[in-house]
Subunit: 144 residues, 2 copies
DNA sequence: CTGCATCCCTTTCGATACTG
DNA sequence: CAGTATCGAAAGGGATGCAG
């Protein structure tokens, strides 16, 4: 029973320690590297971010999300939603109707996460041109 | 010459459109989904974030970074640094000495990115316990 | 409609060995 | 020291078919 819905973001693969070794100075940066990496992995997951975005304006149904993202397979959507549910970022509400209906909604935690993600997104939008310019420059230099 | 240092984050794999289909209403969220995903992918990359963190307090040398992160292979470090350099987030300065020395340093753009990343990291630290609790609860429910 | 299982291809990543 | 080349293992992820 552990074939499909496990390879998502089960946990942290092999969280390396940034402050490894005996030379452990009080660096304000390495705080909870493991935990940070955990959340960052989720944020870095394209689908998770998209789902969180889509859930901004209220609860959505499974196929509703699938249609909105339109490029995601139902496998990945299921996987993503399970991961988000597991982390307590979204709730899954089943309506025992026929046909069955399942609503997904952001929790308070999920809505909280949405803010820093949004900030990041806005930074991205604002500096995207610079990044793309840098990429073009780099690529031209590297293979031109 | 395209065997090792390409599979990093070359570009965007298959950026799906969130606003696909004819039903395209003016949602303030989908802004530049492709661009946002691009940056988010980088942020979601564990190694990229770690390198950016390590570069917070000034320039570092290759093996210096490798030692600090300690769990990253030199292949991934090279890959990560190339990606960051390509995006204009870090600079690579070569000192033609013997032995050779290469310094990596955050650009203004990189330092700018650091802020939202840090905000996200702080959110992560602050809510990590909730997330872990949710995970434990979910796992217990799912296999207990 | 929602969602799990299987097959299978692609990408990613670590280990290792080799240059300047 | 700072990379680069290659290989093999593993994970990611799509397509399809089936079940409640």
């Amino acid at each position: 029973m552990d074939t499909l819905l496990k390879p998502a973001h089960t946990d942290l693969p092999a969280s390396p320690r940034l402050d490894a070794g005996p030379d452990q100075r009080p660096d304000p940066n390495h705080a909870d590297c493991r935990g940070v990496a955990s959340v960052l992995s989720r944020v870095g997951d394209k689908w998770s971010v998209f789902v969180i975005m889509m859930l901004s304006d209220g609860p959505k149904r499974f196929n509703e999300l699938k249609r909105m993202i339109n490029g995601i397979s139902q496998r990945m959507l299921t996987l993503t939603l399970r991961g988000l549910e597991r982390d307590g970022l979204v709730t899954r509400t089943i309506f025992p109707t026929i046909p069955p209906r399942v609503d997904y909604e952001l929790t308070d935690l999920g809505r909280g996460l949405q803010q820093p993600v949004k900030a990041l997104g806005e930074w991205a939008i604002e500096h995207l041109s610079q990044i793309e310019a840098a990429r073009t420059r780099f690529d031209a230099r590297n293979e031109g």
